[in-house]
């Protein structure tokens, strides 16, 4: 009814290629941003910010990263957790070595360290494909995880062996450390995610993104068309690891506020992010957000939602049932829509355009 593009004429190529070609979409994204930037920090409860929004934003950043590699370039990686860890440790080292530089700068910069490591572990992708590559990236996961615990220099010889987040400020307001308010951390994170999503969207709509997709669809054909496979694949690893690294740094500094690597950056984290990408939709940025929202909120919803529905659960049984439910839901979603939530979203929009007519 109100979602129609009737009367909106495109008079030049720039309009035609716009990311949001329909006026209603532009209004929609504006509204979402307004809610995220103004409404949530002003009215959201601590619970909403700390256990829903902040994890969601961190995971969406990580899954955008993995989606660029797996969804857009077609290279399966099971090492995302480790690359996130590299970002976190890089940020930790940088901010202890140069405490006078702003922490947000280091969070953004630490992604580059992660990108470098990502390129290194991306090298085998030139010879290995498919599941062989997926298993090969597990080498990165286990090796890096081993480094995090066995190289004391990385955690500054702390007795705890963990990252300790100090107090840092931005414009005079605490953003990390024990005294930082949730709102401040949320705003920094939201700004990071917004800017980086915008960058990713532009990258994927441009020449680089198109060369990624060409490699995904058939790498030999892409090579024949003059796309340098070496450069493209390594660039995909670099960009993907950059996002993962920033997500890892943000996770440690803006969400956890310190912690041990083996808990935060282990193999399960890698799998979780792969889930988000697949449930959300391969090769879709909005899908990354859907997937991150689904997977990161599912345990919370099950934990608080089931008792609210009158299904009393306690302790161990609840945990086991959560496992069963998560497994069943994953299979269910894969069967119902193998192309992910992003596809459902698209179908929904299409239906809305046609409504009330079937075609």
């Amino acid at each position: 009814m109100f979602y129609r593009e009737t009367g909106q004429f495109k008079t030049n190529y720039a309009d035609d290629m716009a990311v949001f070609p329909i006026l209603q979409d532009r209004i929609g994204i504006g509204l979402i941003l307004a809610v995220a930037f103004v409404l949530i920090p002003l009215t959201g409860s601590n619970f909403l910010l700390s256990s829903v929004m902040i994890p969601f934003l961190v995971f969406s950043l990580a899954s955008i990263g993995l989606n660029i590699l797996t969804g857009y370039t077609g290279l399966i990686s099971l090492g995302t957790g480790a690359f996130m860890g590299v970002g976190a440790y890089a940020c930790y080292k940088l901010t202890t070595l140069f405490p006078e530089v702003n922490i947000v700068v280091w969070i953004v910069m630490s992604g580059f360290v992660s990108a470098l490591v990502g390129v290194l572990f991306g090298l085998p992708s030139l010879r290995i494909k498919g599941f062989y590559l997926a298993v090969a990236t597990l080498a990165a996961q286990f090796f890096l995880q081993w480094c995090f615990t066995r190289i004391p220099w990385l955690y500054n010889y702390n007795t705890s062996g963990a990252i300790e987040v100090g107090q840092r400020t931005l414009f005079g307001i605490d953003v990390t450390g024990a005294k930082a308010s949730l709102e401040a951390r949320y705003m920094v994170l939201l700004t990071l995610v917004t800017v980086l999503t915008w960058v990713a969207s532009n990258l994927m709509h441009g020449r680089i993104g198109r060369s990624f997709m060409a490699v995904r669809d058939m790498d030999i054909a892409a090579e024949l068309m003059g796309i340098d496979l070496l450069k493209t694949k390594l660039l995909a690893f670099a960009v993907s690891s950059y996002y993962a690294g920033v997500a890892g740094a943000a996770m440690m500094f803006l969400w956890y506020g310190g912690g041990e690597a083996n808990d935060a950056f282990n193999i399960n984290q890698s799998f979780l992010i792969l889930f988000m990408v697949i449930i959300g939709g391969l090769g879709s940025l909005i899908g990354s957000f859907f997937g991150a929202a689904f997977i990161s909120m599912l345990p919370t919803v099950l934990k608080f939602g089931l008792p609210a529905l009158g299904i009393p659960l306690a302790g161990a049984t609840a945990e086991h049932l959560t496992y069963i439910l998560v497994g069943a839901l994953i299979i269910f979603f894969l069967i119902v829509e193998p192309h992910g939530l992003a596809r459902l979203w698209q179908i929904g929009k299409q239906k809305l355009r046609m409504w009330p007519f079937p075609y």
Binding site: T70, I76, P124, R127, I128, K129, G130, F131, Y132, V135, A136, L138, A139, F142, F143, Q145, W146, T149, R150, M218, I220, A221, L224, I267, F271, L274, F275, I278, L282, A316, T317, E319, H320, L321, T322, Y323, I324, L325, V326, G327, A328, L329, I330, I331, L334, I335, P338
Partner: protein
């Protein structure tokens, strides 16, 4: 120079100085390798027949072992418990084929891979819900498995062979031979090989893919049960065991996803290489390298043979 000496020469001097210890390490690696090979075998069977990269193989091992012990604890005699466990694995295979594989037929590989992930989660939850999350003792005596160790005097020292390890190796060999006979000589085995060669051609000569999938998942379930018993007898049966599935992955890429001999040879290379590396080179970097060494060995091989040692040659068409 010192570091070069420590990496390149010193470990070999140690091996030469204490040959009995060297043999012991090799034997330990060999047994671990046999068990890795068994898990990899389950993977390969399923991958060949249905093209599914079955991440749930590790949890199937745990689930089978746990069901066996759990049923025994509930009062069933051991042989009966074994039979019922086989039944459970068959029902599991049926359910997976009906609920997961059939609706997802013809989807991209990664979707099926993710679906096996869902199975993993489901089985973890189900297993813990029914049998509890505590580690359990494997019922070795009731299954007539030997205990204790044999000490053999050789090379100026004693080498210890655990009887259960010898039994594991023997049983593994018997099972592999049985599988080989099953594949080569029986009607179903031929059908399985036909499906592995080409789904379409197999369909066109009247082989039911759905049936074959059930059979192959059931076979993988049997392999998982045997692995679960063996591995459970060496440590105990708990959900911690599922990490061994991650250990079997480098074995797979080393041997090739589609090759049964590859799984066996790969398992042995990884098992022995891992133990030797950990024992002789591990202390140089602070130990604990077992977690990633296997992957690096496999990666090294892959750079020269991208399809693994025995895998089908990858042919690309435009």
């Amino acid at each position: 120079m010192d570091i070069l000496f420590k990496v390149l020469i010193d470990p070999f001097l140690q091996m030469g100085a204490m040959p009995d210890l060297f043999v012991q390490t090799i034997w330990d690696g060999f047994v671990t390798g046999v068990l890795y090979a068994l898990i990899a075998l389950g993977f390969v069977l399923i991958f060949k027949a249905s093209g599914v990269f079955n991440f749930a193989q590790g949890i199937m091992v745990v689930f089978a072992g746990l069901t066996l012990v759990g049923l025994y604890e509930m009062g069933l005699p051991a042989p009966l418990a074994l039979l019922v466990t086989l039944g459970v694995m068959f029902v599991l295979a049926l359910a997976i084929e009906r609920v997961v594989l059939r609706p997802l037929v013809n989807q991209p590989d990664i979707i099926l891979f993710m679906a096996t992930f869902g199975i993993t989660y489901f089985l973890i939850g189900l297993g813990e819900l029914i049998f509890g999350g505590n580690p359990k003792q494997m019922i070795t005596d009731q299954l007539f498995l030997p205990r204790g160790a044999i000490e053999v005097k050789m090379l100026g020292g004693f080498v210890q062979f655990q009887k259960i390890d010898i039994a594991a190796a023997v049983i593994a060999v018997v099972m592999i031979v049985a599988l080989a006979v099953f594949f080569q000589k029986t009607r179903i085995g031929r059908a399985l090989r036909a499906v592995a060669d080409s789904h379409k051609a197999a369909l066109s000569v009247g082989i039911s893919l759905n049936q074959i999938w059930v059979i192959v998942w059931f076979t993988a379930g049997i392999v998982a049960l045997v692995t679960g018993i063996m591995w459970g007898a060496r440590s105990d049966v708990s959900f911690g065991l599922q990490v061994i599935a991650l250990k079997a992955l480098p074995v797979l890429i080393l041997g090739g996803f589609t090759s049964v001999p590859g799984a066996i040879v790969g398992g042995l290379i990884i098992g022995i290489g891992e133990k030797l590396g950990e024992f002789y080179w591990g202390p140089l970097v602070g130990g604990g390298i077992e977690s990633w060494l296997a992957y690096c060995i496999a990666l090294g091989f892959l750079l020269f043979r991208p399809q693994g040692l025995f895998g089908d040659k990858i042919i690309e068409r435009i």
